[in-house]
Symmetry: C3
Subunit: 145 residues, 3 copies
């Protein structure tokens, strides 16, 4: 059964990231600077390399890997909530190489921007904070029905 919270649109931003920047870090920096504690983000563009995570559902550990080539970002999607009291961006990304082959995973630090345009929405609403979830080993929102 899904657990749901009502939120409200608050602010909306469009922007671009800097050439050579770290994709995840730059988006997180915008959230910190604009004090966004709840929201969502989407982006498209290209990266010089991608570092992605796959969560091993058996061992409960992320396995990280690098796709070390220029790639189109066909989609970045993420949400913003709190972890340890700070804005935390949880984003997944799909990228494609020069043959069009698509790769994807959990966006990890180490993904280097070539060019990236993003839309970031801030929401008003309840505090959603991440804590360890025993069933999955992931850091999930603590919510009760």
């Amino acid at each position: 059964m899904a657990i749901t919270r009502k939120v409200k649109p608050k602010e909306l931003f469009m922007g671009k990231l800097s050439y050579g920047g770290d994709l995840l870090e730059e988006i997180t920096d915008v959230c910190r600077k604009e004090n966004i504690r709840l929201g969502r983000v989407e982006a498209l563009g290209a990266v010089q390399r991608a570092r992605l995570g796959f969560y091993n559902q058996q061992t409960h550990e992320y396995q990280f890997f690098v796709v070390d080539q220029p790639l189109e970002i066909t989609k970045l999607v993420g949400n913003v909530s709190l972890k340890d009291g700070n804005p935390f961006v949880h984003a997944h990304i799909t990228v494609a190489d020069k043959m069009g082959n698509a790769y994807g995973g959990h966006l990890a630090p180490g993904t280097v921007v070539f060019a990236c345009e993003f839309i970031l929405e801030a929401f008003d609403g309840p505090i959603l904070e991440r804590h360890l979830d025993e069933a999955t080993g992931l850091s999930l929102w603590t919510m009760s029905e």
Copy 2:
């Protein structure tokens, strides 16, 4: 030529789905519970297995297949409208395996949640109801210009 309807933002929800739940069914349940008859949904997370559909444009039949392994959801995107008078979620999904290889298709029942965070928007607007479209064999919105 595109056919377009103006709608208005009404309500906005963030939430998480339950471990082991059916991805499509849980999102549809939220729409029923919150009486969402028009809207859109997006999600990211991971699934234990995915069941996807590919629409055969010649025979006008969906071909379903299972990617029977743990996968990251790199993107779920969908809209909400009516079919047979009830809220109906039409969603497509992109997933990625442990090597980062991406797969995708029409989200079918049988996709099992590992962890999933979603954002669901309800819109006010005209009734969009799905009926058989002769040209494609699909169940599309009946709209005239």
Copy 3:
């Protein structure tokens, strides 16, 4: 460092594209018709063929290729801004074939709609206009901090 502009939601549209239409052209036509100069778009559906671009980050040229088969659109995402004074849609797309294999890239003219449902948002905000960016060779938003 990211460069950011605040925008405001203005109008929201849902709609469908026509069988056999050019995907990028039809979305651009809606923007022209509704006078959308700033915004975002998302879509799902299926195409008869896709024409995609990959930006060569060394030579600063797009390489275009065709995936010449029926495909599901697992996600189209794009933004709307101005280029040469006219509404310009910059979209990336992820598609999947009958085996579920995903491909993606920059959406180019020549992608033929089978069926496509879209959501298009218009924003109020500063003028974002594309001009040549020396560092990347791309047509990016001219923004200063």
